[in-house]
Amino acid sequence: MRKAGKVSIALLFLISLLCFAAPLICPYDPDMINLDSIKEPPGHQHLLGTDNKGRDILSRVLHGGRISISVALIAGFLSIGVGLMVGVFSGYVGGRIDTALMALIDLMLSFPAFLLAIGISVVFPPGIYTVMIAIAAVGWASFARLIRGHVLTVKDAAFIESSRAIGCSQIRILFVHVMPQCIPLVLVMTGLKLGGYILTEASLSFLGLGAQPPTATWGSMISANRAYISSAPWMVFFPGLMIAITSLCFNMLGDALRDKYDVRI
């Protein structure tokens, strides 16, 4: 794999480690209000400064990262799971079921994605599960379409025909022979999509549809602190930087995987 891909994996690992170990390593309680130290710039006491309620930005960024990263990852797994199932099934079975499923996928993809995610998020009470569902409900269709396309090229291959000839059951062919063929495609797409999911999670949180205050997420920190952009820019800068770096790492990882497996997307 390209160097950029390896660096991204290392960085992602480091960011996840820091965020998930946040309760152990953070010097401050992320939600503890300390009115003696409001809007302190980055310094020795508070490495990334404090916000308008005196809460430590570093602690909030790391704790918030736990939520942001897990929401994106779980939403990713959900949409891959559904997309893979629908795509493989639709492509392999073909016929009317395929036509119907593709029509549904077309319908999903013709929606403006972000508006749909917003629409879903307002239906359910705001929170992290809602955001996961919203992202996955919008995301599965593009996975399904690409995987279906790939299955169509695979299903007429000689090795599928021979496994049918030696009497493999349909289920076995589907799970043991067809599905593994989709793994490189799924890997590449996951890398590329997770970068986007990080952004979507942050955007929905920014709009107040994600985890509710006082719980910090990267997106909600920016939205809560944006009024102080002029007087205390660090309150907005660092959470955004974390979003950008994490999303960038996933995107570069996706690019590197695409080059490695030579997949066309």
Binding site: P112, V123, G195, F250
Partner: protein, 310 residues
């Protein structure tokens, strides 16, 4: 061509039915009672009941849906629960602003994206290519609400060159357009680069070079012209998605377009506004996609001649 167009237009009907029923279900399932949030929880039961009847909220869900579709066909998107203004009228007022912002973003994004992609592809493997590629992947990864705030901080709060927010003439338009253009430049650069590199490897390019045509002429007349087709698609799709109202960018910069209108509707649980925005946005996206499709057919002589020969 006519047959193709007719088929595409017919496909719109189930699509729009699906979309309206989906938005209808979505907004009906919303938590919170809009009647209560309108009159307050201490209002008289009779008053609540009266408003409920006026809104048609007491009838069965199917009747509500069919009534809604019938009204939609008449261009009646309902009235906002709060301002009691027709949603359609408000959408008509907000649309020009959204169109301005979308055009502003495209005016910046298209030349930059095409140029950077072309440069990157022509210098493939060099330092220039690597720098442009890194920048474009970065552009894809930066959230617009963050870049927007940083741009606002730098250009209007620190340097005081342009107003930080509001709707108005060109000076209000510059910063949100740049913010919206950044991810579009990134996408366009990437697509341009990939497309061009694919075309560089095609036999007709080798032929053109073998005939001794100047390199710059080959690049522009032979390669770039062929790349235009997929690029038009990407530009069209981007434009379509901006016409939905860039919810985040418009919210940050206080730009009075459809995106901010959507956001206000969501915050106030103003169902007709939310439904109207989603439907208007989707119809616009679908129409733009159709337009791009037609343009695609028109631009590509291979498809055009194939259709004619049938």
């Amino acid at each position: 061509m006519k047959k193709y167009l007719a088929k595409k237009l017919l496909l719109l009907i189930p699509l729009l039915l699906g979309i309206t029923s989906l938005t209808f279900t979505l907004t009906k399932a919303l938590p919170g009672d809009p009647v209560l949030s309108m009159v307050g929880e201490r209002a008289q039961p009779e008053v609540i009941e009266k408003i409920r009847r006026e809104l048609g909220a007491d009838r069965s869900i199917f009747i509500q849906y069919f009534g809604y579709v019938r009204l939609l066909l008449k261009g009646e998107f309902g009235r906002s629960y709060y301002t009691n203004r027709k949603v359609f009228d408000d959408l008509l007022i907000k649309f020009p602003n959204t169109l301005k912002l979308a055009l502003g973003a495209m005016v910046i994004a298209v030349p930059f994206g095409l140029f950077l992609g072309l440069l990157s592809a022509c210098r493939r493997g060099t330092m220039t290519d690597r720098i442009i590629s890194s920048l474009s992947v970065t552009g894809l990864s930066i959230p617009v609400f963050w870049s927007g705030l940083l741009i606002m901080l730098l250009f209007s709060l620190k340097l005081e060159l342009l107003p930080p927010s509001g709707t108005g003439n060109i000076e209000f338009l510059v910063l949100p357009s740049i913010t919206l253009a950044l991810p579009a430049i990134a996408t366009l650069t990437r697509v341009t680069r990939t497309t061009l590199i694919e075309i560089f490897a095609m036999p007709f390019v080798t032929t053109a070079r073998a005939k001794g045509i100047k390199e710059s002429r080959v690049n522009i007349l032979h390669v770039f012209k062929n790349a235009l087709i997929p690029l038009v698609t990407v530009i069209g799709l981007d434009f379509g998605s901006y016409l939905n109202g860039a919810v985040l960018t418009e919210t940050i910069f206080g730009w009075d377009g459809m995106g901010r209108f959507t956001m206000e509707g969501i915050i106030k649980r103003d169902y007709p506004v939310i439904m109207g925005c989603i439907i208007a946005g989707t119809v616009m996206l679908v129409l733009i996609n159709l337009l791009v499709d037609v343009l695609y057919h028109y631009l590509d002589p291979r498809i055009r001649l194939y259709e004619k020969s049938r």
